[in-house]
Symmetry: C2
Subunit: 209 residues, 2 copies
């Protein structure tokens, strides 16, 4: 029983992180014990502590890798030189698809991050606020340009991101929807909900890409 017996593509530390994200999503941070995690990974509880110093550190790591992966993708979309409605459409679709595909990690990011210790929490709040500000800016751009009807942008971002987060909890693979199915439906609904009058134009723009 050594550390090189069976590396099926993933290092132990990475497997631990994966299983931890999965457990934190399904049983919540407080509901998942280190023993549960050890069992899922197939090692003993003590061995976990060789790779990560604490349960908190596991959560912090999960949140951080997610934070450094997804926001840049959205930021890239936000910087495109296309109408705000099109940018927001793509941003929502990406955020939603990512939320479903990597729901273990995104659930930790959006739901379990509140269990971060105060030290990590402060850091995380700031990053999360910056991430959500990307969406709010897109909405404000769209209102300014007349693509969306005048409305409170912070309520709009609350509605949109709340909807996306909901997908994580409500998604069930056995229902037969692909992440992209849901992502597209949500993005369409959101753009329409913001009061855009020519959704067809956005669809056409997407199809051309």
């Amino acid at each position: 029983m050594t550390h090189l017996d069976a590396p099926p593509g993933l290092e132990t530390a990475e497997r631990i992180l994966h299983e931890a994200a999965a457990l934190f999503r399904t049983k919540s941070f407080n509901g998942a014990s280190m023993q549960d995690l050890a069992t899922a990974v197939g090692i003993t509880k003590s061995s976990l502590y060789h790779h990560y110093p604490s349960k908190q550190a596991l959560l912090a790591e999960i949140v951080e890798v997610t934070m450094s992966r997804v926001p840049p993708l959205v930021a890239e979309i936000a910087a495109l030189d296309i109408p705000a409605a099109s940018r927001l459409h793509r941003a929502i679709a990406l955020h939603t698809a990512e939320s479903i595909r990597e729901r273990d990690y995104l659930a930790c990011f959006s739901e379990e991050s509140r269990y971060l210790s105060p030290a990590f929490m402060a850091l995380h709040r700031e990053k999360k606020d910056r991430y959500e500000a990307l969406f709010q800016q897109l909405i404000e751009d769209g209102i300014d340009s007349g693509e969306f009807v005048a409305q409170d942008p912070s309520l709009a971002v609350m509605a949109v991101l709340g909807m996306c987060d909901g997908a994580i909890r409500r998604y069930r693979p056995e229902d037969g929807y692909s992440p992209d199915d849901i992502a597209t439906a949500f993005a369409n609904a959101a753009i329409r909900g913001l009061g855009v009058h020519d959704l067809e134009q956005i669809d056409a723009g997407e199809a051309a890409l």
Copy 2:
């Protein structure tokens, strides 16, 4: 120190339930201990067990009182003899306002109910499905009548209720929005998002009531 000293309007059992709902929302079911609850109520942990047989029973009771209070209100709206879009608008506004006003209870209903023991869970799933079916039926009605664009009703209900649930987690009283502000904004956004073409007519209908 007797049981009749200071009933400030609420019986002990009811105060326990209130504080439990608040704690379960803020710290989650697994994160809130019976000692936390006892401290919040101002009695000892042992005394809790005089009123409720277990922590599980507390959660079950919270979920059940919510379940027997809110769905009838929505069912009443769903049965009104007005266009589907108007009924759905009012149903969403009510659900959202209620989610925010009674967010301790509604959070337990929508988020913590997954910690119910299997026995209670089965019962709860059925009721929750029936509740959500109310919304889905309204959406299907609106599609059939041409008020909403053709779309997958179950994805639509996923988006709408996900958005509403999000309000519970994202709402912060200090931001200055009233529950009704958010409820109206969400209902408008949702109806628009479903593809209704004459939102003004719905607003006019609401104003007349």
